[in-house]
Symmetry: C2
Subunit: 403 residues, 2 copies
């Protein structure tokens, strides 16, 4: 080899951080240069964003300085936004510079997808990143402060309307059910005034989930005052709220959050990758079709479950497993060895419903509810911190809430 090959990782989410970390551990410095490009100087926990948005955890708990995990003497860190990948000349255009690569890992995460619902982009908040979630938290609290100081109190200003009853939507309303009573106390407001409403077009929230678990989640949320509007299609989002159903009913709210859909990062489209519903359907070695040296991971990729002939669900758990396969395959490419196939190992899924409640499956189908599930959810959250940054990171950012 004439010069060291350069591996460029785009995005420091679950997939990008773990890939970089593993490359750092598995490759000798003389084997390859590693570059990590990320918009911010921090990594954040996407699966904790709903808690930042509700204000039940501090945003700093949900983010980790990249330098605390990735040694900047080993990995070149570039804090910039990716504009486009030019595959023809193997260059990545950033907002403020350009960088060439020999091997590329595209792990740029998701973007919110409003499915063209009228007015949603303009009028709803998105659980997208740390900044957008701090805005949601502040917007909600500002409604309470304004309500308390207003002469003619309009109760619907304290309604929080959440579009989409999938994983994020349900976890978010679960956190809101914890937070809203605290805000009522802080602003001396009757706790019966604020409403939390979740709107889902499917006949039930959490479509695709085990029916026992869904039933448990519904009861838990409803008992804590969350109103579930299932089988309710959102026709449009206005400044006032959602217009829903056949009768075009208006649900007014002071805060409107859309959690109903995500798609792959728009850099994929801008770079001319062939897309299926906004993501690249990758080969089983996680490379983009037809590309020898480009891996696509995490929420940017559809990874096919060949047994069931449909893609695996795009989760943080899957993204971290992508990283392992990707790092192994990069090493294999450098050593001219055969690449491995990605196989998803389902470790279960636990959805938080608040501080002390959760539900989900672990160990291939064992159902968990209530406090044990909430404890397991924290185990899952903390396990990632161990994997990423060891004991120190767990002690610094871990969830050790009393329950």
């Amino acid at each position: 080899m004439n010069s060291k090959p350069k591996i460029v990782v785009l995005g420091a989410g679950y997939a990008g951080m773990m890939t970089t970390k593993k490359l750092m551990q598995q490759l000798q410095p003389e084997e390859a240069d590693i570059v990590l490009v990320n918009k911010h100087n921090y990594h954040y926990q996407t699966t904790w964003l709903h808690e930042v948005a509700a204000g039940t955890i501090n945003h700093n708990q949900a983010r980790i300085m990249i330098r605390d995990i990735i040694d900047p003497n080993r990995v070149r860190l570039i804090y910039d936004s990716v504009v486009r990948v030019n595959r023809d000349d193997q260059r990545v255009v950033l907002e403020n510079s350009e960088i060439d690569y020999d091997y590329l890992v595209v792990s740029l995460g998701f973007e919110t997808n409003t499915f063209g619902i009228k007015g949603m982009d303009e009028n709803a908040f998105f659980i997208q990143d740390i900044d957008s979630c701090q805005l949601i938290r502040e917007h909600i609290e500002y409604q309470f402060a304004q309500y308390k100081n207003s002469e003619a109190k309009e109760d619907h200003n304290l309604t929080i309307l959440v579009g989409g009853g999938g994983f994020t939507g349900v976890e978010f309303v679960g956190e809101l059910a914890e937070k809203v009573p605290q805000l009522c106390k802080k602003y001396d407001i009757d706790p019966n005034v604020p409403k939390i409403i979740n709107v889902e077009a499917s006949p039930s929230i959490l479509p695709g989930f085990d029916t026992d678990l869904v039933a448990y989640a519904k009861t838990s949320l409803q008992e804590r005052g969350v109103e579930l509007r299932e089988g309710t299609k959102i026709q449009a989002c206005t400044e006032e709220g959602f217009i829903v159903g056949e009768g075009n009913e208006l649900i007014k709210a002071g805060t409107v959050v859309w959690t109903g859909g995500v798609t792959g990062n728009s850099v994929l489209a801008d770079s001319g990758f062939e897309l299926t519903k906004g993501k690249v359907t990758v080969n089983s070695d996680l490379r983009a079709p037809g590309e020898e040296n480009i891996f696509i991971l995490g929420d940017c990729a559809w990874v096919m479950n060949k047994k069931e002939d449909r893609p695996y669900p795009p989760t943080a758990q899957a993204a971290m497993q992508h990283a392992t396969t990707c790092a192994n395959n990069l090493k294999a490419l450098l050593h001219h060895q055969p690449l491995e196939q990605f196989v998803f190992s389902d470790k279960g899924t636990v959805a938080s419903l608040g501080v002390t409640d959760a539900m989900g499956t672990i160990f291939e189908g064992t159902k968990l509810y209530g406090k044990p599930a909430a404890a397991m959810k924290k185990v899952v959250d903390n396990r990632y911190l161990f994997l990423l940054g060891g004991l120190n990171l767990f002690l610094k950012k871990g969830k050790v809430r009393p329950f």
Copy 2:
């Protein structure tokens, strides 16, 4: 006496709380019924409100549940707003009921006075009470969250414009100089973007204060980035900011707060008391002119300094001294003894300029600056808690910041 006389105290500010507390201590239960009427079930520290508004202390630190100080078995507590005093039939009209009195103490505090400046009532926030200060705090933070999430960033949205360079205005910008860098850190915003601007019509901030102390305050504030616009008259307040000076310059700001004036509670006017600049000029025994059984205290009263032929400044210190005289005089009335004359004992004045800086005078003119003054300011704050609620209250709500 056929029945027990009834003493009604209106308002649980510094004057009303201390009067009630002293009556509770000095009168036997069989001597009089005591009633305390207040809008909220809590007393708050008016002199700490600028800290609640800046967000440098929690609002709960600045308020005290009335029941924690006043024994509800000895004093009847009514939580309601006062509409009007009917002196002819010795009744007080409340929003939800009426109450008669034999002796009345009017200690309803101040209202913000905008001196008819165009647009000020509609567009500026006021440092008025706990609710309004929580709104200011949330409004400021919401500007930071919005700025961070906005595409086309308008820097003036992070400007905080404070009208009035008196005691409250100066203390408020001093706290903001502490808070704004914290917000910049929280929202990853360049600390050079936000501005704190204080506008004062007089040639200097803190008119009437010792010139050495004023010079010290100016340097302290300016070194921490506060812009002082002295000798600058506010012509109008609009949605965008202030229009100032002869040239009608527009100073744009995302947050506009008016601290430039106060007057007595409007209940005084609504009850037909004779007013001088919104307050009642009381006799030296603190009774309203021509009234045998009505005392007017605190920010509702002008108490004349006969030596200098002008009223004493309306401060918390004065209000607490009014309470002592008033309680003594109520006891004297019950016992048909002569009333005492109010004499103000000036214990000095210390203005906070932030967490670790302050300036003021103590012990009849000794000037204090910097950390010793900041320490003394906390002594003053804590002394009141001792007087009101003893060691327990100090431990619960005291200011024991490190400095």
